[in-house]
Amino acid sequence: MTREQKTISVALDEAAAWAARFASDMVSEADWRGFEAWLATPGNREAYDRVEAAMASVDDHAAELRISLEPTGRVSPVRALADVKRNRPRTVWLAWGGGLAAAAAVAFFAIPSLTGVVSPSTQIEAIAYAAPGEGTRTVKLADGSEVTLNRGAMIRVQLGAAERKVELASGEAAFKVAHDPARPFRLTAGKETIVDLGTEFNVLSANDKLVVTVRAGRVRVELAAGQPVELPAGEQMRLDRVAQRAVVSKVNPDDSFAWQGGRLVFHNASLSEVVERLNDYAVKPIKLADATSAGLRFSGVLVIGSSANMVGQLEAFFPVRSEEGKEAISLRTK
């Protein structure tokens, strides 16, 4: 054994010891601190990654290994307990392999198929994603769908066997949904539900409004009151949640997705509409102090930035000046 091989071998011994430590149900903060110090030595992290990859490989094939090692297929009480523990869904990616928790409580049951059995009653843990503070965030979901969250948006995702459920708690998000007719993709925003029929769409949800824009494919919006609305590509539905009135119009859908590139696009929009849109992003709200300015119209592109920065852009385009107050920034006609 060369000196180098010997070093690697020692690092692997230590890595295995740490891995065995962290597999324990009794781990202290001091263990994590010690591990951190150990990781700082060159070569140790790589050794630990190797042990971890080996463990992941065992986990990936746990069902097959278990069956092969216990060819009788009988379920002993210990086995049933073990299966309950193993199949408790920890995360979404594990959850599809689970679903046996209920079945395992029965004294005898068929050995799980190697691909994983999914029962519709499975309790699948939701994963929440948020785009905190500044900037947007793109999340690739386990089913291959992609969600881009605008700043401040938060979603909860439950990828179940029978359906994919996403809840948009608030804010704006753009969805590229992986097509899977067997598992409909249902997005809930407030009291409304958007059912994806294979598509790319943008949703802006706030207390007083819901705006759904379809770029590709087709979605169905199930309203809290009234008939569902089907939107093909190129159409936008604006729901006024206060008046409970929905308006569908033809739009250039790219404009609704422009925020992903940090831009907002307006076509002949009134200043009050522009300000309303900017307020979705502004930390400090922007207010129109007089009625005259509200009717001013604008076509063009604004860059999403801080409240002050966006107000500066408005001042450049409109004959208005701003006054920064404690609570808000007010705009007046010059």
Partner: protein, 174 residues
């Protein structure tokens, strides 16, 4: 979404205190400062609705480690999917636009079978007690405490058997 500051649990307050430690740890662990930031941010999201836990500081590290492993796993999955997709496209020529199904390719399945076979061989060749501990903990999901009780040995003996088993498995090349 605005978080209600008044509803912060003790665990969340501890998180605030340990945030920098966690970022430092995961930066070292993943060798990426931005991955570390993402992981530590996700820990925060997971803390909502979690009540008292035993050893809360270790719980924070554990949660982050699980998140890190989830990320690694899903990127392995999507890489595998991309690979199989590209392979399909190469075989069928450009213009094939079948949906990605996420099914493993025949090659991957074969590789998987070989890996299972090698793992099986290795586990079967383990000393008896080591094998018992490994199967009970790693394959059946019993905790160290449960394994120790059922085999009538100490927790630290369980840990030593696990260490030896993991050391052996790490020798298996991908």
């Amino acid at each position: 979404m605005a978080l209600d500051e008044s509803e912060q649990s003790p665990l969340m307050r501890l998180y605030m205190e340990k945030r920098r430690d966690l970022v430092r740890f995961f930066t070292l662990r993943t060798s990426s400062a931005s991955d570390a930031e993402d992981i530590v941010q996700e820990i925060w999201i997971r803390l909502h609705g979690i009540g008292d836990v035993e050893n809360p500081a270790a719980f924070l590290y554990r949660t982050g480690t699980n998140l890190m492993l989830d990320r690694a796993r899903s990127s392995r999955r999507s890489r595998a999917r991309d690979d199989s997709y590209h392979m399909v496209n190469q075989v069928r020529g450009a213009g094939a636009n079948e949906d990605e199904t996420g099914e493993p390719s025949p090659e991957q399945t074969l590789e998987g079978r070989q890996r299972v076979a090698r793992l099986m061989q290795l586990i079967k060749a383990m000393p008896e007690q080591r094998q018992r501990v490994f199967v009970m903990h790693k394959l059946k999901g019993l905790s160290y405490g449960e394994v120790a009780e059922s085999l009538g040995i100490s927790r630290s003996a369980v840990e030593k058997h696990m260490m030896a088993a993991l050391r052996q498995i790490a020798e298996l090349r991908e």
